[in-house]
């Protein structure tokens, strides 16, 4: 009797854990399914998971989180470029293209995406494609430059394409 009871208690103790596993899986299934359709599943999942709002967001909400992530990384990128320019005056000229690109991202493309994503997503797609384009040109201009900028830039580039593909599912 006591054995049966302890068996039941154990099952009760342990089952929430498996329920938790299941629950966590169910919470994230939208994220996983949505990210599967993007060109970079791992980046998509990791970016969304690192935002606590993602577990309760719908697709539009996930898109908005990603736009926010691109904005944050771009802000960091602009900061890096400014710091590098100040620290290495010789690099300043080479970095000028990327400086302009990141200013364009933050002053034009991000606001376009933020404004459009909740209303007319195809324009948010345009904005994100714009970011992918300018980060590609920033990459080219950075060849040979040793700095954290190339990897940040690649991150912004790849993340913007992930966002484009999520936005497409909202159309």
């Amino acid at each position: 009797m006591l054995i049966n009871l302890s068996f039941i208690i154990l099952l009760l103790v342990l089952s929430p854990c498996s329920l938790l596993v299941k629950a966590q899986h169910q919470t994230n299934s939208l994220i996983l399914d949505t990210c599967k359709k993007t060109p970079n599943y791992a980046l998509c999942v990791s970016t969304l998971r690192s935002n606590p709002h993602s577990s309760t967001a719908d697709v539009a909400g996930l898109g908005l989180i990603l736009v926010g992530a691109v904005k944050a990384k771009s802000t960091a990128g602009l900061k890096t470029i400014s710091e590098l320019s100040r620290a290495n005056p010789a690099l300043k000229k080479r970095l000028s293209q990327c400086m302009e690109d990141y200013k364009m991202i933050l002053s034009a493309f991000i606001p376009e995406a933020e404004q459009a994503i909740g209303g007319d997503p195809k324009f948010a797609e345009d904005g994100m494609n714009g970011i992918a384009d300018v980060t590609a040109q920033c990459v080219k201009s950075l060849q040979g430059v040793r700095a954290p900028l190339p990897s940040t830039n690649k991150l912004v580039h790849d993340l913007s394409l992930v966002t484009v593909s999520i936005i497409r599912t909202m159309l």
Binding site: L2, I3, S6, F7, L10, L11, V13, L14, C17, S18, L20, V21, Q24, H25, L32, K37, T38, P39, N40, Y41, A42, L43, V45, S46, S50, A60, K73, A76, M104, A108, F109, P111, E112, Q115, A116, G119, D120, K122, F123, E125, D126, G127, M128, N129, G130, A132, D133, A136, Q137, P148, S151, T152, K154, L155, D158, S160, L161, V164, S165, L171
Partner: protein, 661 residues
């Protein structure tokens, strides 16, 4: 510092820790120690059952989430040499989202993918050349959909989606301009700005209805402070003002909210209203349910309260969101346009929709039943969104209106840019409107409408050039002595050598402009046509051509294409070949008309049966270096061509001279 991480290591470890592993402390839980000595075997049974249960749950977890393994591997590979092993993004086909809709006949490259190429080093000369000379565009910044076109007290009015702050979309406001002749324009102050809670996130697209007593009613979509799409009513402050400068938003807006079952962001672009047999006005609004594009029906008597009908005007599965729905009658027998409320025998109705999914405008001809408020396509296989396109190029959000002055149905269309948005920001503007087109029913085929540039555009024709009956043997290229080749109106006709044509039994039974190599893809019976915006060495050229494909059964199909693949040495512009088949009736020669205006080319085949608008951005074939050629790249047939071309003067577009009043 490298700020880029793969899956934050914490999450993965936490994930696996939710399912205790077999040797974790929890499984070693011992029941009451006093019992342990006497109940060892039952305890062992209990433990093994628990162990089995746990292993079972863990296996289930893994099965349901196979990507855990994949993710773990990636993380490991990153740690081993600290490099970014983001393999997924390196494979070329992963650079953009997968294309959609091919099964419905939608173009593969129907949306612009980000290029992996760096931006071309555009110079000021190249960029300023791109501005058009006789198409409508504001002085600067972004424009999109044409709105509420109408004719009032001697003036044509055009409103349009506009961003006052930037050359990309945002802060949408209603721009306003007027014209006597649809060609020369005067810019007016904004008609409406996003200043109410119900349109603070955008004064979006809308349509005008002119009531029998002359009153003007404007219905438009507002994007509210909560990002809900609603319909609002506006009207002129002063109907006797020919300029219609000031507009009043109805104080109790919105007049329509998204109905139950319709998404709050799937409800926009109300049409011009028409009267039904019961004397009530009707409007239709595009939307979607899952992937089915639909058109909602509303009735009203006062434009303030609306009754949503149970039935839809129409719906087509798989077409996605319907934007900018347009619905209007065309005469089957006459050649004039018809007021939107006309119906009866001798009338067909065009239902048109802009598809959000692929950013193309589609239309279908059909019959409207005004008693049941339903529209049925003549040919369900060519239904809205899966059949004919209004324009096979860069063209969207088009809208017609009835020009009661000249009794014609006129069509406006938004022509966006097909270069990078970053270039648009550099040049400080984006988008033009098409030259307005008359729309009539094609009585000869019975299955098309015909679009043709309004006659007023011909007032810009100045110096003319003519050449007749030029024989173009296979592989020929004939330069035309046309100067000032960036602003042209060209009319050309082509006759295929009949003997050679009859003697060819099969010539590429199927052809597809977009999948082809453009003008460089030689076939037996095509391509042949005109090269515009070409330079002398042909390092840049924009061919507009016919291509005839002939099946084994001897039936020929003619295609009309506009080829951008070699239009520019720049790599960051659209290089698609646009086009479609065009019906050619027995006895008809092949004819095309081109309006060339710097970075826009509007191409019309067979009197407007198939139309293609292209945006072209040459870097060399600009200013005095631009040339025009006739060409025949077919291998098996000669073609006789006749061309008449006019240089086009520039239209006058300027702000209304208020100070001179």
């Amino acid at each position: 510092m490298d700020t880029y991480h793969f899956l934050p290591s914490r999450d993965l470890e936490h994930a696996s820790s939710y399912t205790p592993l077999p040797d974790s402390p929890e499984t070693r839980h011992e029941p009451d120690p006093d019992r342990s000595k006497t109940n060892r075997r039952p305890i062992k049974i209990v433990s093994s059952v628990l162990l089995a249960t746990l292993i079972f749950s863990f296996v289930i977890f893994l099965l349901v989430n196979p990507n855990v393994q994949q993710v773990v591997r990636k993380k490991v590979s990153k740690n081993s040499n600290g490099e970014d092993h983001n393999k997924a993004s390196k494979s070329p086909e992963m650079l953009g989202p997968p294309s959609r809709g091919v099964s419905q006949g939608v173009s593969e490259k129907s949306f612009r993918q980000a290029t992996a190429e760096p931006s071309y080093p555009w110079t000021n000369d190249m960029l300023s050349w791109q501005r058009t000379s006789f198409h409508f565009q504001p002085q600067e910044n972004w424009m999109n959909d044409p709105n509420g076109p109408l004719f009032h007290m001697g003036w044509y009015h055009l409103f349009y989606q506009y961003n006052p702050d930037s050359a990309i979309w945002g802060n949408i406001t209603w721009g306003h301009a007027i014209s006597r002749d649809l060609i020369n324009w005067l810019h007016l102050p904004f008609a409406m700005q996003p200043d109410q809670w119900y349109d603070i996130n955008g004064v979006w697209t809308g349509s005008a209805t002119i009531l029998p007593d002359g009153k003007i009613v404007m219905l438009y979509t507002g994007d509210t402070d909560d990002l809900v799409q609603v319909q609002n009513l506006a009207y002129p402050a002063n109907l006797s003002d020919p300029l219609l400068l000031d507009w009043i938003k109805y104080p109790d807006n919105p007049v329509m909210f998204p109905p139950p079952g319709i998404g709050s962001t799937d409800f926009r672009d109300p049409t011009t209203a028409w009267i039904g047999p019961d004397g009530k006005w009707r409007i239709t609004i595009g939307s979607k349910v899952n992937k089915t594009g639909i058109s909602l029906m509303y009735k009203t008597t006062d434009f303030i309260t609306y009754e949503l009908l149970d039935n839809l005007l129409h719906a087509v599965p798989g077409t996605g969101m319907w934007e900018c729905v347009d619905f209007y009658p065309v005469s089957v027998t006459g050649s004039n346009g018809l007021d939107t409320s006309v119906n009866g025998p001798g009338v067909k109705h065009v239902l048109k929709s802009s598809l959000d999914d692929d950013r193309h405008d589609y239309y279908a001809l059909g019959t409207y039943d005004p008693i049941n408020d339903k529209w049925t396509p003549d040919n369900p296989e060519l239904d809205v969104g899966i059949g004919l396109r209004l324009d096979y190029g860069k063209y969207y959000a088009s809208k017609t209106f009835y020009d009661q002055d000249k009794e014609r149905r006129l069509l406006w269309g938004w022509i966006g840019e097909s270069d990078n948005e970053s270039t648009d920001l550099l040049k400080g503007w984006a988008s033009v409107q098409s030259i307005p087109r008359t729309v009539v029913f094609d009585k000869k085929t019975g299955t098309n409408i015909l679009q043709w540039p309004v006659k007023e555009v011909e007032s810009l024709r100045s110096r003319s050039y003519e050449i007749n009956d030029v024989e173009l043997k296979p592989g020929s290229l004939v330069p035309l002595k046309i100067s000032s080749a960036a602003q042209l109106d060209i009319v050309a006709s082509f006759e295929v050598d009949e003997e050679a044509f009859k003697g060819t039994y099969e010539a590429d039974a199927s052809y597809n402009c977009t999948a082809s190599e453009g003008a460089a893809g030689r076939g037996i019976l095509g391509p042949f046509g005109i090269l515009v915006l070409a330079d002398d060495p042909l390092s840049e050229l924009t061919p507009v051509y016919f291509y005839i494909a002939k099946g084994v059964d001897g039936n020929a199909k003619t295609y009309f294409c506009a080829d951008q693949s070699r239009s520019s040495t720049a790599s960051d512009v659209d290089k698609e070949v646009y086009g479609s088949d065009v019906p050619v009736l027995p006895g008809e020669s092949l004819s095309m008309r081109l309006l060339v205006d710097h970075s826009i080319v509007e191409s019309f085949a067979q009197g407007g049966r198939t139309v293609i608008t292209s945006r072209v951005y040459p870097t060399r074939a600009i200013y005095s270096a631009a040339r025009v050629f006739l060409f025949n790249n077919a291998t098996g047939v000669s073609v006789t061509a006749s061309v008449k071309a006019w240089q086009m003067a520039s239209a006058t577009l300027k702000p209304f001279p208020f100070d001179q009043l």
